[in-house]
Amino acid sequence: MATYLEFIQQNEERDGVRFSWNVWPSSRLEATRMVVPLACLLTPLKERPDLPPVQYEPVLCSRTTCKAILNPLCQVDYRAKLWACNFCFQRNQFPPAYTGISEVNQPAELMPQFSTIEYVIQRGAQSPLIFLYVVDTCLEEDDLQALKESLQMSLSLLPPDALVGLITFGRMVQVHELSCEGISKSYVFRGTKDLTAKQIQDMLGLTKPAMPMQQARPGQPQEQPFVSGRFLQPIHKIDMNLTDLLGELQRDPWPVTQGKRPLRSTGVALSIAVGLLEGTFPNTGARIMLFTGGPPTQGPGMVVGDELKVPIRSWHDIEKDNARFMKKATKHYEMLANRTATNGHCIDIYACALDQTGLLEMKCCANLTGGHMVMGDSFNTSLFKQTFQRIFSKDFNGDFRMAFGATLEVKTSRELKVAGAIGPCVSLNVKGPCVSENELGVGGTSQWKICGLDPTSTLGIYFEVVNQHNAPVPQGGRGAIQFVTQYQHSSTQRRIRVTTIARNWADAQSQLRHIEAAFDQEAAAVLMARLGVFRAESEEGPDVLRWLDRQLIRLCQKFGQYNKEDPTSFRLSDSFSLYPQFMFHLRRSPFLQVFNNSPDESSYYRHHFARQDLTQSLIMIQPILYSYSFHGPPEPVLLDSSSILADRILLMDTFFQIVIYLGETIAQWRKAGYQDMAEYENFKHLLQAPLDDAQEILQARFPMPRYINTEHGGSQARFLLSKVNPSQTHNNLYAWGQVTLTSLQPPPLNTWQLLPCSSLL
C-alpha cells in the first residue's frame, strides 16, 4: 500500500470502515491529546458485489464473555486444530466440520481478504417482510389522489410474499382488514385516546389466537396461520383488494370548519401501528410507513391545536419555552420509537406539506428505528413519488436494499473500549468488558440495535484507548476491532456480517508523525460533526459551536506549525489541510444553525446527517460546487462567492438540494434564444450538461433532492447564495454583474466538445 489515502480507500471499500486515526496512539493520555477521538464510520451493510455470503455459521470463541468470531487475525494451530482468539486469547478447538483445515485448506474467514465476511444463518423460521402503511386522509383531494396512486404503485414493487397492512387516519384511526370479500372491514379507534399496547391488541382481537373470528367458512380452508392475517396479508393474495381499498379511500369525512386545521390523529395512528406489529410480529422485519400531510392536531402526540390562528411552534417559540405541546408529544413519540425498536421494527415518515408537520417531535421514530424520513411540499411532487419509489430499489442481486432488525456488536482488543455510537440505532444495554465508562453518543453498551438499515446506513462509533501510559504496547502490536452485525436480509434470511480490522499502535511521543500522517480528515470531520449534531440535540446551539471551535483550535495547536504572533506562518500538514474548511462550513450548516430553518427542517437535516455515509455526509457539510463554462471541462470550484461568474453555469449539490445556477451572461444568452440556433449548438450543450449531471444525481440519491433551476437574479438563487462563502458581498456582487449586463456578447461558437463531468462525482 502506497499512501494512507489509498489504504483508507481500500479499507473503506472492503470493510466499509473509515477511522479518524489509522495509527492509534497507544495510551489513554496520548489519545485524549489527539483532540479528535479515535472513532470510525462504519457502514455495516456496505454493498459488496464481490462478497458472496458463506452458507454456514460462524465459529465463536468459547469464552462466554467474548464470543468473538474466528477471523483472519486469529492465530491458528493447524495441527492441533486450535485457534487463539485475538481479543481474549482464549484457545479454542475448531468444530468438527473444520477437521480438514490446514495451511493450504483454509476456510474463508481465515483469509486476509475476508476481513469482512457474511454468514447466512439457516436456522429459524423465515418470516416475510412486513409493510404497514399508515396513511393520513386529511389531505387535499389531489394530494390524496397522488398518494393513493403512489401507494397502489408501490404494491407492485413489494416482494410478492411480503405482508402488507393498511391503517388510515384522520379524526379517527382505521385499521383495515384486508381479507374480506363483499364487505370492507376496518377497526376504528378514537383519535384522541392513548391506548396501551395491550388494549390495542385486545381491541384488534389479537390476543386470542385460538379464535379466528370470522371468514373461516367451511370449504375455504384457512391457510393463513397468523391471527393477524386479518390485518396483514401477503401481497399476492390481496393485491386486488388492497388496490381497490386504496382506490376507494376518501378524504376524512368529518367537517373542518373555517379557521381550523383538520383533526389529525397521527399519534394514535402510529401507536396502533406499533401495537399491531408488536402483538403479531415481534422481532420480525417490518416497516411502518407513515404518510402524513400535516401536523398531528389531536390526541397524544399532538403538536399543534386545531386553531389555525395559532401557528405551529418555531425555534423562537422553543427557545422561549413557548411550544406547549412539544415536550408531551416528543415523549409520546419517543415512547413509541423505543417500543418499536425493541420489537425490531422501523418507522418511516413521509411528511409532505407546505407547513411543518411535527417532524421535530416525531423524528425519534425514524431516528431510533432506522427508518426513513422524507420531507416534501406535496405528495403530488416528483420529489415524493420518486423518493418513495426508490425505497423499493433493488441491488445487483435483485434484493431490496433494506435490512431489518440488525444488532451491531463491537468487540475490541483489551487496549480499547467502545464509548458509544451515533447513528440510527438504539442501545441494547449490553455491558461487557469492552464498554467504556465514558460515553460518546449512545454509549454504555457494546451492542446496538438498528431496526432498519440499507447499504448506506452508517454509524459513527467512538472508542477510547484505555491502555495506560506506563504499560506500553509492545512494538509492532496491533489493536483489533470486530464488528458483528446480525440482521434480517431483505430475502428474509438471517445473516451475520463480520468485519475485523486491526491498526498499528504508535507511541504518540516518538511517532507522532506516523499518527499524523494516518489522520483521515474527512472521516474525522464527519465524526466530529456527528458529535456536534448529537450534542446540538440536547444543548444550546452556541455551546456546541463553541465546543467545535475549541476542538478545532486545540487540534491546530497540536498539529499545526506556526510561529507565535504570526498568523501567516501557520501551516497544517496535507492530512489536516481540509479539516478547518470542513469545520467552517459545518458551523454554517443547517445541522448546527437553526436560523432560517423551521424545527422540522432542522430535524430533517439532522436525521439524514446522522445516517449517511462519509461521502454524502461531506457533501452535506460542505456542498459541492461545479462550474461549467466554455473555458474547459466542468470543474469543482470553491464554495465561495468568487466562484459565481457571469459566464459560468454552476451546479451545486448540498445533498438536499441540487441547484443549477446560470451566470448572468449565460442567462441572457439563454433568454436571447441562442441555444436554439444551430450555430450555437455548443451553447445548447453547455446548458444541457449540468442538467444531465443533475439528473444523474437526482436518480441516485435518496431522498431525492429538491431540484432548483435558477439563474442570476432569480429568486431561487438564494439557495446558492446562502451556501457560498461570502467573500464578496451581495452588493459588490451585483454591481459587478451589472457591468457585463451592459455589454452582452454572444456565446462562443461550437469550438469544442463538452466533456461529461460525471466522473467528478
Binding site: 372491514k185 376496518s186 376504528v188
Partner: protein, 1096 residues
C-alpha cells in the same frame, strides 16, 4: 244508569246476572245489567250453576234445588222458585231470578231514593221484572213482600238482618245497585223501607211483580228465616249466592234466604264463630249471601275459608263462611253488562265528568270538547272538592294518559292547527294552550285562562266576535275551541337549539355473538329487515318514509356499517374501544332506504355469513346504546334504536353486569334489589339518550338470566319497549318475534317528546308512572312515545275545588313526528267536583284504579319489601271500601260487605294484582320474568292492565259455530272449565288453548287433525290449518285476539291433566294460586274483614 232504559227489556238478563251480579247487578244493575245480561246470563248461569254445584259439591247444588223448593214456597223463592221452575239446568234463570230479586230490593231502595242512582235501580228492577215470568214474579213479589213482612220479625232475630234491613231502608239511599244499603241510607230511609222498596220497584220496573219480589228480599232480611229454613240445608248458597250478588248490599233478598239460614245460624254462629263468623255472615249478607249459606255447611265446605282463616278466626269462620263464587261480583258479568249497555251508542264527550264505558266495551267516541277516553281515563270523574275528602276516601285521583293512542278507523285523528309563525296561543301566565274551556270576554278581545284565571289579550289575528252566549262565532271552525284533542304545528321556538329537527332515524343494533347466530336469530332478522325497511312509518300520504336507517352489529365489540349509496359494497367499521364509545363514521351510516337499497341488501345478506362461525360468546350492552345515541347526536336528529340482544353483558366494558340472580332473596327485605338495576351506569346513559331524543327498543333473546331489571332501564326511561323471547328458537318463536318486530318498526312514534300536564287551580299533578324520564317535577320527557305507551298521572289537591267550575286537565305533548315535523298535541278533559263522597264513588272507574294501583305497587317493589307493598294495597283498598261503607252506604250490619257499584270488582282485580308474578311469584317465575312484567305494566294502558290481571277465558264450543262474535267469556276459575270443552285464555301476553279431557272426538279431529285427545301434542303452538268451520273459527278467533293486543301472543295448547296445565292454571286468577295467592272468595272475605276492622 242511562242504560236503565234498556235494562227493562233485559229483564231476563238481570236475572241471570244475579249470579254474581248479585253484586254487580245491584250495583250495575242499575246501569249495565239490563240489556246485556239477558243473553249472557242465560249462558252463564247455565254453566255457572253447573260449576258451582260441582265445586261446591253437593252442597251448592243441593242447595239450589233444595232452596228452590223453599224459595218457591217462601218466595224469595222467587229466585229459587225460578230456579226450580227453570230447572237447575237453567240455573241461570234460577239464579238470575234470585239475583233479580236481590237487586230489586236494592233497586227498590234506590228507587225510593230517587237518586241519580235511580238509574241503577231501575235497571235492577227491570231485570228482575223480566226474569221472573210474570206469574212467577208476582208470586215472588208476593213472597217478597211477605218476606218483607217477615223480615221485620227477623231483624231482631238475625244479627245480620238487623243491618240488612236497615240497609234496605238505607239501601234506598244506595243508588248503586249492589249497595242497597247506601241508597237507602241516603234517601231511602225516609221511605218506608219495605214499602218504599216496593213502591220504588214498581215505579222503576214495569214488572212490579219482580219488584215485589225484590222488595220482599229487601225486607227479606227478615224473611231470611223463612228462607233459611229451606236454604240452610246448605243450598243456601245457591240461592243466596245468586241473590246476594245483586244485593251485595242488600243481602236481604238472597241473603235473606241464607240469612234465614243465617239467622238460624246466627244464633249458632255467634257461638260458633265468635265475632268473625258474624262478620262473615254479614258479609255474606251483603254480597255474600252465600257465605251465610255456607256457614251452616261450613265446617267442611270451606276450603277457601282457610285462606281467610288466617284472618278471621280460621277455625270457625273458614269453614262456615265459604262464599258461593257465583254470588260474588263477576268481572265477566260487569263487562258484559257494560258492553250491552254502552256499546251501541257513541260516547259523546261534551258533558263534563261523564264516566266513559269500560275499556272492554267497543264504543265510538265523538269529541265534543273533552278528550276521548282512548287518550285519557281517570280513576274518578268526580273529584272531591277538598283534600280532606280525598284523604278520607283514599281513592287515588289519577289519569291514565295515552297521548298518541291509536284510534279506530271510524274516528278521526286530531286535527292539526297551524297558527303560523306566531305559534299556538297560550295563556301568558300558566302557558296553558288555547282550549275549549277558555272564556272569551270583553267582546272577544280578551280571554280568561281556565287554568289559572289570568286574563290575556287576544292577538289581533286571532280576534273573533262572540255570539250572544259568549262563544266565539268561529268556535266550531277552530278545533282548539271546540274539540278535546287537537294538534298545533310547533314553531321553531319549540325546537331543540332553535332549529327545526331533521327527520328521525332508526338504528338496528344486532347482537352477533354465538348465541344469536346459533339460534338463527341473526339470519332471520336480516332476512326480515330486507322487506321490513319498506314499511317504516311515514306521515300522512307521504310516498316514502323520511326516516333514515343505520346498522350496527356487535358482540364484545361494535361493528358499524357504512351503507352509503355510492359504495359498491358496504363497509364495516369495528370499534373495539367499548370503554369510550364513539361513532366512527359520519356520512353513510344513516341513509335513506330507497337510495341505499342495494348496499343495504348486500349488507343484510352478508351479516349472517360474516359471523356464521363466530365463537364469541361475550357481549356488551351499554356501549351499544351509547353508540346509537352518539350516532344520533352526530347526525343531529332524534330516533330509535332497535336492539336485538341475547345475553348478560359480561364483557369488560361500561355497564358490565354480573349474574346476581338469587331466588333466595324472594320474600326477604332484599328482594327489592332484584328489581333494581345493578349499576347506575344505565340511568346515566338513559339520561343522555333522553337528552338526544334517542328511544331504545330492546328485543331480548335470553337463554338464561340476563338481568332484565338492569337492561330494561334505558328502554324504560327513554319510552321504549322491551320484548323478551326466552330460549328463542326460530322454528317456534319466529312468528311471534317477527310479528312484534313488524309492529314495532311500523308503529308511529313521536320523538324527542316532552309532556306536561296542566290542571286548573286546586289540583296538581304530583306523580307520574310510565316509561319516561323526568329531570324536574313537571315535565315528562320521552325520547320516544308510541301509540301503546301510557303515562299514569296522579293528582293531589293543593286547594279547594269548586263544584261549579269543576277541574280541568290539559295534557300537552310536544313531539317530533315521523317526518320530522315538530308538533304539539293537546288533550283537554273537564271533570266534575263533588262535595259528597257518594258522588265520588258513583263516578269511579275500577279498571283505571287498578291500572294506577298496579303501577304504584310495581314501582313500590323497587324500594320496599314486596310484602309491605301488598299490605299497602290491601289497606288502601280496604280504606276505600270502608270509607264508602261508612259514609255512603246505609247503615247496616257490620257483617255485611257493601261495595260501591263502580268498585265492586275492585277486590277481585286487586287480588289479581296481588297475586301477579311481581308481587307474589310462583316457583316457576324467573327473576327476569318478574322484572320484565314489572316494566311492561308500567306503561300499560287500562285495557291492557285489565286483561293482563284478569285474563279472558273463552269457551269455544259452547256458542254456535256460525256466530261470528266472540263467545262470551267465563270467569277465570278452574271451576268454570268443563272437561268437555275447549277454551282460549289470553291476557295480552299469553294465549292458551285448553283442551278438556273428554272433549268430543269430532272437535279434536276438526281442530287438531288427530283422532283422539291423547294424540294432541301438548305445547303445540300452531293449530293446523284445516278446512272446517270449527278450525276456521278458532283460528279466526285467535287471529282477532292477537290483533287486539300490542304484542303477539304465542299460542300454547294445553291438555287437561297435562304437565303444562300448571302453567295454564296460573292464569285462572279466581282460584288459589300455587304461590299462595288467595282465591277470589278468600280474598273477598279477607277484604271484608279488613274493612270491618277499619270500621270498628
Amino acid at each position: 244508569m242511562n242504560v236503565n232504559q234498556s235494562a227493562p227489556p233485559v229483564p231476563p238478563f238481570g236475572q241471570p246476572q244475579p249470579v254474581y251480579t248479585g253484586y254487580h247487578q245491584s250495583s250495575y244493575g242499575g246501569q249495565p245489567g239490563s240489556t246485556a245480561p239477558p243473553t249472557p246470563y242465560g249462558a252463564y248461569n247455565g254453566p255457572v250453576p253447573g260449576y258451582q254445584q260441582t265445586p261446591l259439591p253437593g252442597v251448592s247444588r243441593a242447595p239450589p234445588s233444595s232452596e228452590a223448593p223453599p224459595a218457591s214456597t217462601a218466595q224469595a223463592p222467587c229466585g229459587q222458585a225460578a230456579y226450580g221452575q227453570f230447572g237447575q239446568g237453567d240455573v241461570q234463570n234460577g239464579p238470575s231470578s234470585t239475583v233479580q230479586m236481590q237487586r230489586f230490593p236494592g233497586s227498590q231502595p234506590f228507587g225510593s231514593v230517587p237518586l241519580a242512582p235511580v238509574v241503577s235501580q231501575p235497571t235492577v228492577l227491570q231485570p228482575y221484572g223480566p226474569p221472573p215470568t210474570s206469574a212467577q214474579v208476582t208470586a215472588q213479589l208476593a213472597g217478597m213482600q211477605i218476606g218483607g213482612a217477615v223480615a221485620p220479625a227477623l231483624p231482631p232475630v238475625g244479627l245480620g238482618y238487623g243491618p240488612p234491613t236497615s240497609l234496605a231502608s238505607a239501601s234506598g239511599s244506595y243508588p248503586n245497585s249492589g249497595l242497597y244499603g247506601s241508597y237507602p241510607q241516603g234517601q231511602a230511609p225516609p221511605l218506608s223501607q219495605a214499602q218504599g222498596h216496593l213502591g220504588a220497584q214498581p215505579p222503576q220496573r214495569s214488572a212490579p211483580p219482580q219488584a215485589s219480589g225484590f222488595t220482599s228480599p229487601a225486607s227479606g232480611g227478615p224473611r231470611m228465616p223463612s228462607m233459611t229454613g229451606p236454604l240452610l240445608p246448605g243450598q243456601g248458597f245457591g240461592g243466596p249466592s245468586v241473590s246476594q250478588p245483586n244485593h251485595v248490599s242488600s243481602p236481604p233478598p238472597q241473603a235473606l234466604p241464607p240469612g234465614t239460614q243465617m239467622t238460624g245460624p246466627p244464633g249458632p254462629p255467634p257461638p260458633m264463630h265468635s265475632s268473625q263468623q258474624p262478620g262473615y255472615q254479614l258479609q255474606q249478607n251483603g254480597s255474600f249471601g252465600p257465605v251465610r249459606g255456607p256457614q251452616p255447611n261450613y265446617g267442611s265446605p270451606y276450603p277457601g275459608a282457610p285462606t281467610f282463616g288466617s284472618q278471621p278466626g280460621p277455625p270457625q269462620p273458614l269453614p262456615p263462611k265459604r262464599l258461593d263464587p257465583d254470588a260474588i261480583p263477576s268481572p265477566i258479568q260487569v263487562i258484559e253488562d257494560d258492553r250491552n249497555n254502552r256499546g251501541s251508542e257513541p260516547f259523546v264527550t261534551g258533558v263534563r265528568g261523564q264516566v266513559p264505558p269500560l275499556v272492554t266495551t267497543n264504543f265510538l267516541v265523538k269529541d265534543q270538547g273533552n278528550a276521548s277516553p282512548r287518550y285519557i281515563r281517570c280513576t274518578s270523574y268526580n273529584i272531591p272538592c277538598t283534600s280532606d275528602m280525598a284523604k278520607q276516601a283514599q281513592v287515588p285521583l289519577a289519569a291514565v294518559i295515552k297521548p298518541l293512542a291509536r284510534l279506530p278507523p271510524e274516528e278521526a285523528s286530531p286535527y292539526v292547527v297551524d297558527h303560523g309563525e306566531s305559534g299556538p296561543l297560550r295563556c301568558n301566565r300558566c302557558k296553558a294552550y288555547m282550549c275549549p274551556f277558555m272564556q272569551f270576554v270583553e267582546g272577544g278581545r280578551r280571554f280568561q285562562c281556565c287554568f289559572c284565571s289570568c286574563i290575556n289579550d287576544v292577538p289581533p289575528q286571532y280576534f273573533q266576535h262572540l255570539d250572544h252566549t259568549g262563544k266565539r262565532v268561529d268556535a266550531y271552525d277552530r278545533p282548539e275551541l271546540s274539540l278535546g284533542s287537537y294538534e298545533f304545528l310547533a314553531t321553531v321556538d319549540y325546537c331543540k337549539n332553535n332549529k327545526f329537527p331533521s327527520p328521525p332515524a332508526f338504528i338496528f343494533m344486532i347482537d352477533v355473538s354465538y348465541n344469536a347466530i346459533r339460534s338463527g336469530l341473526v339470519r332471520l332478522l336480516c332476512e326480515e329487515l330486507k322487506s321490513l325497511l319498506d314499511f317504516l312509518p311515514r306521515e300522512g300520504g307521504a310516498e316514502e318514509s323520511a326516516i333514515r336507517v343505520g346498522f350496527v352489529t356487535y358482540n364484545k365489540v361494535l361493528h358499524f356499517y357504512n351503507v352509503k349509496s355510492s359504495l359498491a359494497q358496504p363497509q364495516m367499521m369495528v370499534v373495539s374501544d367499548v370503554a369510550d364509545m364513539f361513532v366512527p363514521l359520519l356520512d353513510g351510516f344513516l341513509v335513506n332506504v330507497s337510495e341505499s337499497r342495494a348496499v343495504i341488501t348486500s349488507l343484510l345478506d352478508q351479516i349472517p355469513e360474516m359471523f356464521a362461525d363466530t365463537r364469541e360468546t361475550e357481549t356488551v350492552f351499554a356501549p351499544v346504546i351509547q353508540a346509537g345515541m352518539e350516532a344520533l347526536k352526530a347526525a343531529e336528529c332524534a330516533g330509535k334504536l332497535f336492539l336485538f340482544h341475547t345475553s348478560l353483558p359480561i364483557a369488560e366494558a361500561p355497564g358490565k353486569l354480573k349474574n346476581r340472580d338469587d331466588r333466595k332473596l324472594i320474600n326477604t327485605d332484599k328482594e327489592k334489589t332484584l328489581f333494581q338495576p345493578q349499576t347506575g351506569a344505565y340511568q346515566t346513559l338513559a339520561k343522555e339518550c333522553v337528552a338526544q331524543g334517542c328511544c331504545v327498543d330492546l328485543f331480548l333473546f335470553p337463554n338464561q338470566y340476563v338481568d332484565v331489571a338492569t337492561l330494561s332501564v334505558v328502554p324504560q326511561l327513554t319510552g321504549g319497549s322491551v320484548y323478551k323471547y326466552a330460549c328463542f328458537q326460530v322454528e317456534n318463536d319466529q312468528e311471534r318475534f317477527l310479528s312484534d318486530l313488524r309492529r314495532d318498526v311500523q308503529k308511529v312514534v313521536g320523538f324527542d317528546a316532552v309532556m306536561r300536564v296542566r290542571t286548573s287551580t286546586g289540583i296538581r299533578a304530583v306523580d307520574f308512572f310510565g316509561a319516561f324520564y323526568m329531570s324536574n317535577t313537571t315535565d315528562v320527557e320521552l325520547a320516544g312515545l308510541d301509540g301503546d305507551k301510557t303515562v299514569t298521572v296522579e293528582f293531589k289537591h293543593d286547594d279547594r275545588l269548586n263544584e261549579e267550575s269543576g277541574a280541568l286537565l290539559q295534557c300537552a305533548l310536544l313531539y317530533t313526528s315521523c317526518a320530522g315535523q315538530r308538533r304539539l298535541r293537546i288533550h283537554n278533559l273537564a271533570l266534575n267536583c263533588c262535595t259528597q263522597l257518594a258522588d265520588l264513588y258513583r263516578n269511579c272507574e275500577t279498571d283505571t284504579l287498578i291500572n294506577y294501583m298496579a303501577k304504584f305497587a310495581y314501582r313500590g317493589v323497587l324500594n320496599s319489601p314486596v310484602k309491605t307493598v301488598r299490605d299497602t294495597l290491601i289497606t288502601q283498598c280496604a280504606q276505600i271500601l270502608a270509607c264508602y261503607r261508612k259514609n255512603c252506604a246505609s247503615p247496616s250490619s257490620a257483617g255485611q260487605l257493601i261495595l260501591p257499584e263502580c268498585m265492586k270488582l275492585l277486590p277481585v282485580y286487586l287480588n289479581c294484582v296481588l297475586k301477579s308474578d311481581v308481587l307474589q311469584p310462583g316457583a316457576e317465575v324467573t327473576t327476569d320474568d318478574r322484572a320484565y312484567v314489572r316494566q311492561l305494566v308500567t306503561s300499560m294502558d287500562v285495557a291492557e292492565t285489565n286483561v293482563f290481571f284478569y285474563p279472558r277465558l273463552l269457551p269455544l264450543t259452547k256458542s254456535p259455530i256460525e256466530s261470528a262474535t266472540e263467545p262470551p267469556a267465563v270467569r277465570a276459575s278452574e271451576e268454570r272449565l268443563s272437561n268437555g270443552d275447549i277454551y282460549l285464555l289470553e291476557n295480552g301476553l299469553n294465549l292458551f288453548l285448553w283442551v278438556g279431557a273428554s272433549v268430543q272426538q269430532g272437535v279434536v279431529q276438526s281442530l287438531f287433525s288427530v283422532s283422539s285427545f291423547s294424540q294432541i301434542t301438548s305445547g303445540l303452538s300452531v293449530l293446523p290449518v284445516l278446512d272446517n268451520p270449527l278450525s276456521k273459527k278458532v283460528r279466526g278467533l285467535i287471529d282477532s285476539l292477537r290483533a287486539q293486543r300490542s304484542r303477539y301472543m304465542k299460542l300454547i295448547v294445553v291438555k287437561q291433566e297435562d304437565k303444562l296445565e300448571m302453567l295454564f292454571k296460573h292464569f285462572l286468577v279466581e282460584d288459589k294460586s300455587l304461590s299462595g295467592g288467595a282465591s277470589y272468595v278468600d280474598f273477598l272475605c279477607h277484604m271484608h274483614k279488613e274493612i270491618r276492622q277499619l270500621l270498628s
